[in-house]
C-alpha cells in the first residue's frame, strides 16, 4: 500500500478541510442532513464550527519514534502475557496433579501453598491507602491520599468493586445536560485485570477524587511513566467573601516511576521546587509500583512543568 495513498484526501496540508474546495460541506459521502434545506444549512454550519474549533490544535511533528517504541512495547507485552499465561497453565496443571496425589497414609496432600489470593487479600473491595501530603491553609486542614484498588479477576468482582467504590466515595449520580445522567455503571469487563488508583483530596470535612488512573495487575501504570495533575486546593467559590480576598492556590499532584529519586517542579515564573525521596516527599503508593508527590504552588504562581532530575 502506498503510504501517501488517499493521504489527507480533500484536505489542506495541515489536515484541515480545504474550505476553498468546491464540495466541502457537500462531501463525498453525502452531506449529513435531516431531510430539510434548513437541516443542510445547520449541518454545514456545524461542520464549519467544528473546523474552526480545531484551529486551537497545535500541530507539531508526528511523534513517530514514540509511537513505534510504544507499539513495540505493546507487541512485547502481548508475547509476555502469552508466555506468562502458558506458565500459569502449566503451573495450574502441576497443582491439579499434586492435589490428586495422596501421601503414604492415603491422606490428601494439602495444596495450601498454591491457594490463590482471595479478592479481599488482593484489596479488590477495600483499597490500600497511602497519605501523600498534609497541610493547613486558609484555616483548613487538607490531606492528599492515594487509594489503590486491586484488580478484579472477573466481572462479578468488577461489579462488586464498583459498588464498594460508590459506597466508600459516596458517589451520587450527577445530572447534567438536561436530564442525561452520567456516568452509567462501567462495563464490568473493562475493569477486569486492571487495578485502580484514586487520589483523594480532603479539605476540612469534604473529600473528592482529583485523579483516577488504571494500572495493570502487576502494579505498573497503564499510561506513561510520569504524569502531573493540577487542581485548585479549594473548590470554586470557596474563597468568595473571605475578608482578605486571598486567591486559591494550585495543588500539583504527580506520578513518577519508582526509580525516581528527585523531581523538579517548575512554576510559571521560572522558579523551581525540588522534591526528593530522601525527604520523604516522593512516596511509594502501597499496592502499586508508582511513586507520587504533592506540592502546593507558591502564592500567585501556577504549575509549568515537571522533570525527573535523578
Amino acid at each position: 500500500m502506498s503510504s501517501d495513498q488517499e493521504n489527507n484526501r480533500g484536505m489542506a496540508g495541515d489536515g484541515k478541510p480545504d474550505r476553498g474546495m468546491v464540495g466541502y460541506g457537500t462531501p463525498h459521502h453525502g452531506t449529513p442532513d435531516h431531510g430539510t434545506t434548513h437541516g443542510d444549512a445547520v449541518s454545514r454550519d456545524i461542520t464549519l464550527l467544528l473546523a474552526d474549533a480545531t484551529d486551537a490544535v497545535r500541530i507539531g511533528a508526528a511523534p513517530c519514534q514514540a509511537v513505534v517504541r510504544g507499539g513495540r512495547r505493546r507487541k512485547t507485552r502481548r508475547w509476555t502475557v502469552a508466555a506468562v499465561a502458558a506458565v500459569v497453565i502449566a503451573g495450574a496443571t502441576g497443582t491439579l496433579a499434586l492435589t490428586a496425589m495422596t501421601d503414604g497414609d492415603g491422606g490428601r496432600v494439602s495444596p495450601a501453598a498454591t491457594r490463590p489470593a482471595t479478592a479481599e487479600e488482593r484489596h479488590v473491595y477495600k483499597p490500600q491507602k497511602t497519605t501523600l501530603e498534609t497541610g493547613h491553609d486558609y484555616g483548613k486542614d487538607w490531606k492528599v491520599a492515594v487509594d489503590v484498588w486491586g484488580a478484579p479477576r472477573n466481572e462479578a468482582e468488577s461489579s462488586r468493586q464498583y459498588e464498594a467504590l460508590k459506597r466508600l466515595y459516596k458517589v451520587v449520580p450527577v445530572v447534567i445536560n438536561r436530564g442525561s445522567a452520567t456516568p452509567t455503571a462501567p462495563d464490568p469487563s473493562e475493569w477486569v485485570g486492571k487495578g485502580r488508583v484514586y487520589v483523594r483530596l480532603t479539605v476540612g470535612d469534604r473529600s473528592s477524587s482529583v485523579v483516577e488512573e488504571e494500572f495493570s495487575e502487576g502494579g505498573v501504570p497503564l499510561g506513561k511513566g510520569s504524569k502531573t495533575y493540577t487542581t485548585p486546593l479549594l473548590d470554586n467559590g470557596a474563597l468568595q467573601g473571605e475578608p482578605d480576598e486571598k486567591s486559591d492556590r494550585q495543588l500539583v499532584i504527580g506520578r513518577v516511576p519508582p526509580a525516581a529519586q528527585q523531581v523538579r517542579v517548575t512554576w510559571s515564573d521560572g522558579s523551581t521546587t525540588e522534591i526528593g525521596r530522601d525527604e520523604g516527599r516522593l512516596v511509594d503508593a502501597v499496592g502499586s509500583r508508582m511513586s507520587w508527590f504533592v506540592v502546593l504552588a507558591p502564592e500567585g504562581l501556577s504549575y509549568d512543568s515537571t522533570k525527573v532530575t535523578k
Partner: protein, 179 residues
C-alpha cells in the same frame, strides 16, 4: 528479514505522518484537550503498529484506524467515573481553551463549542464528530462506532440538537456559521 521489518516500519511511519494532523484534530474534538488528543492518537497508532501487517493490506486502512480510535476513546470514557472527579477550573479534564488576543471572539466561539461538545455524552459526541467533522456517511460512522445506522442517526440528531440549543452557538449557527 531485517530489511522487510525496516520497510514495514518505514511504511507505517509514512502512513502515521500523513494521518497525524487530521486525526489530531478529530481527537481534539473528541477529548477537548490538546494533550489528551495527542495521547489518544498515539495510543491509537501504537495499536495500529501492532497490527500493521493486517492494516496495511486492508482495503481501507483509515476505517480500521478510526475504529481503533473510537474504541480507545469509548474505553477511556467507560472507565472514567466522572462523578468522582469534582469539576475544578484547571483540572486536566476541563476543555482547553485556545489563546485569546485579537482573536478573542473566535476563541470564545471555540471555547463555547468545545465546552458544549465536552458536555455531550461520549456516543453523541463521537457521532457528531464523525458525521460533521470527519464527514463520514451514516454507514461509515456506524462501522467506526461499532453500532447500527439507527443508533448513529439518533446520537447525531440528539447531539446536534443539544449543540443548537446553546445560546452562543444557536446564534452563530442561525447566522450561517462564523465568517
Amino acid at each position: 528479514m531485517g530489511d522487510r521489518k525496516q520497510a514495514r516500519d518505514a511504511e507505517f511511519q509514512s502512513f502515521f505522518i500523513g494521518r497525524w494532523p487530521r486525526l489530531l484534530r478529530t481527537a481534539f474534538l473528541l477529548t477537548g484537550e490538546q494533550h489528551a488528543a495527542e495521547d489518544l492518537v498515539q495510543t491509537t497508532f501504537e495499536q495500529v503498529y501492532v497490527a500493521w501487517r493486517r492494516v496495511a493490506s486492508a482495503e481501507d486502512p483509515d476505517t480500521y484506524v478510526r475504529r481503533v480510535m473510537i474504541n480507545a476513546h469509548a474505553r477511556r470514557h467507560r472507565r472514567r467515573l466522572k462523578e468522582l472527579l469534582a469539576p475544578r477550573s484547571d483540572s486536566p479534564l476541563v476543555p482547553e481553551l485556545p489563546d485569546g488576543g485579537d482573536r478573542m471572539a473566535q476563541a470564545d466561539d471555540r471555547g463555547t463549542l468545545l465546552t458544549a461538545l465536552s458536555h455531550l455524552p461520549p456516543r453523541q459526541r463521537e457521532a457528531v464528530v464523525l458525521r460533521y467533522w470527519e464527514d463520514l456517511s451514516e454507514a461509515q460512522t456506524a462501522e467506526a462506532m461499532g453500532c447500527s445506522v439507527g443508533a448513529v442517526k439518533s446520537n447525531a440528531a440528539k447531539g446536534i440538537a443539544k449543540l443548537r440549543a446553546l445560546p452562543g452557538l444557536a446564534e452563530t449557527v442561525t447566522q450561517g456559521g462564523r465568517k
